[in-house]
């Protein structure tokens, strides 16, 4: 028995240690750092206690405001479009008999490719002077668009890239959900003479709710973390048109070397996300979804 006790602990502790060392400790470090300003003296950091003044600066930070606002717009718009297209494609795929694995294989490809390369691909295609998109517009007799350089268009261009990148992920999860629905309910409905639309509205959608919620939440989380594509496509510009929250933190903490202030910003973002998690779990509790 005592040997079992030993192994029980020996198997779990590596995970606990990794979590403590690389998430709990850094979080504590970050929290402490957020009450300080860091000065570099002879290449060593010197912490000066400044109380809550780093937090007091947050509401006046225009970059942070733009970052938060753009992140929300980006995440909501991109994820909504992805869910809609992904669901339609998944429905179509369940209705065909041949070629399912062909489409599935092709649709996984964007998920496996580094975000930075997705950015590189689209930077090439969005180029004002020689990008393929403007060439197509020219062919149609429409004047070229400055996809990434125009303040009004840049965020939309970034959303388009994200939709291209992640619609396949929604497709895969929703397809898995659709394939796991019991067949007999649909057969019974069809025998009773229900139309395709009625089946979709009254049977498929309600049954798919847990899968839809899980996919939605999962995508929202990923969308809030967006960094790589934007780093390569626009660098947050022009102006603050595509500034997102990860970018603001990176800028304040590393580029501008304001680590105390950047730490306060990180803690604030973590708090906001924690609050959203609590609200989301309350809202979806009892819906049968476990995220």
């Amino acid at each position: 028995m005592s040997a079992d006790r030993f192994w029980r602990h020996a198997t779990l502790w590596p995970a606990i240690l990794l979590f403590v060392a690389l998430t709990i400790l850094p979080l504590a470090n970050l929290l402490a750092l957020s009450f300080n300003d860091v000065e570099w003296v002879n290449r060593t950091p010197v912490w000066n206690w400044v109380g809550v003044s780093n937090y007091q600066k947050l509401p006046d930070d225009n970059l942070l405001r733009a970052g938060l606002l753009n992140t929300v717009i980006f995440a909501v718009a991109a994820v909504a479009i992805q869910m809609l297209i992904g669901f339609i494609l998944a429905l179509l795929t369940t209705q065909i008999t041949r070629g399912r694995s062909f489409y599935r294989t092709i649709f996984i490809l964007p998920i496996l490719v580094p975000g930075i390369i997705i950015g590189a691909i689209w930077k090439l295609m969005y180029s004002y002077d020689f990008g393929v998109l403007n060439q197509v517009l020219g062919f149609l007799g429409i004047s070229a668009l400055d996809w990434l350089g125009s303040p009004n268009l840049a965020l939309l261009s970034v959303i388009i890239v994200d939709v291209w990148h992640w619609t396949p992920f929604c497709f895969l999860l929703l397809l898995a959900g659709l394939e796991s629905l019991p067949d007999d309910i649909f057969e019974a409905a069809r025998i009773d003479g229900a139309t395709g639309w009625q089946i979709l509205r009254d049977i498929t959608l309600p049954l798919m709710m847990p899968a839809i919620i899980v996919t939605f939440v999962f995508r929202m989380i990923l969308a809030f973390k967006v960094f790589d594509e934007i780093y390569l496509l626009t660098g947050g510009g022009p102006g603050t048109a595509t500034e997102v929250i990860s970018f603001t933190i990176y800028r304040r903490f590393f580029t501008e070397d304001q680590s105390g202030y950047g730490a306060a910003m990180s803690i604030a973002v973590i708090a906001i996300i924690a609050a959203m998690i609590i609200v989301a779990t309350r809202a979806t509790a009892g819906r049968g979804s476990k995220v």
Partner: protein, 276 residues
């Protein structure tokens, strides 16, 4: 009736095929760009004489770091995958088969959910200062530890799903026969969850290969990974489009190879990692 069914089917295939083309076209475009000369590329020519200068520059040019980036990504990817897999498999087995009280399971899984939702860049600053103070910044060990931590939540859920599918009776029977924990894990559980291990390792490796912001913060030139190499081509004053395209094309190859050999495993992994 069958006529109508057939035309509906044709329409479905047409829509799906169109989307498949939309998904594939950008990849095709960057591969084509990689084979163009800078002039063909900047003139936006559709027809061109395929040319290898982009690839030659990326692979052989003395100022190019791409070979080193590739090696670094391999080392960090394989290192963090092995670490994550060992830690996650042990922990998942422990949590689901060795009778821990509920609060242990829930707090560990709960914390991994919360940690998974936080943008990595929020913690990267703390990682940087901590690793700097113990001399792990700009080392493989530092980045391997960071990538392992980032991927641990997903690996824990995936291995948890696969280990819960192992019949309890098998484990109990082995316990009654007097097998100890390492024996049960090695001889009973691991052979059954082999597909799960494959799926988890593929996804962990891919996510480490793809990871950008943390590598950006924790590495310098000697330890920079592939995404950083690509980022550099685009960040200089004049973008080296041909080289960027060639390097991107080369970096997609591992994903393509995995896709061809393990399409089903990847789908299963993505679905069980997300839906749990």
């Amino acid at each position: 009736m069958s006529e109508r069914l057939r035309s509906a089917d044709l329409l479905r295939h047409a829509v799906l095929f169109t989307f498949a083309v939309i998904v594939l076209f950008p990849f095709l475009w960057i591969v084509m760009a990689a084979f163009k000369t800078q002039i063909d590329l900047l003139m936006g020519r559709f027809f061109f004489q395929p040319n290898l200068t982009g690839f030659v520059d990326v692979i052989f040019d003395k100022t190019s770091d791409f070979g080193r980036n590739f090696m670094n990504s391999m080392i960090v990817g394989i290192g963090s995958t092995i670490l994550v897999l060992v830690v996650a498999t042990l922990a998942a087995f422990s949590l689901y088969r060795l009778q821990w009280p509920g609060w242990v399971l829930h707090s560990l899984l709960g914390w991994s959910v919360i940690f998974h939702m936080v943008p990595p860049i929020t913690l990267a600053g703390a990682w940087y200062t901590m690793m700097r103070s113990v001399g792990l910044d700009n080392t493989y060990t530092g980045l391997i530890l960071a990538h392992a931590t980032l991927n641990l939540p997903m690996a824990l859920w995936m291995m948890g799903v696969f280990i819960r599918d192992v019949p309890k009776e098998l484990v109990e029977a082995a316990q009654i026969d007097g097998a100890n924990v390492p024996n049960i894990l090695w001889n009973v559980v691991l052979p059954i969850v082999r597909p799960g291990i494959a799926a988890t390792s593929i996804l962990t490796f891919v996510f480490s290969w793809n990871e950008f912001p943390v590598a950006l913060v924790l590495t310098q030139r000697q330890t920079a990974t592939v995404p950083l190499g690509i980022g550099k081509y685009a960040q200089e004053n004049t973008i080296a489009f041909t080289e960027m395209a060639a390097a991107s094309t080369l970096s997609i190859v591992p994903a393509l190879i995995l896709l061809v050999f393990a399409q089903k495993l990847i789908v299963r992994g993505l679905v069980s990692g997300a839906v749990k």
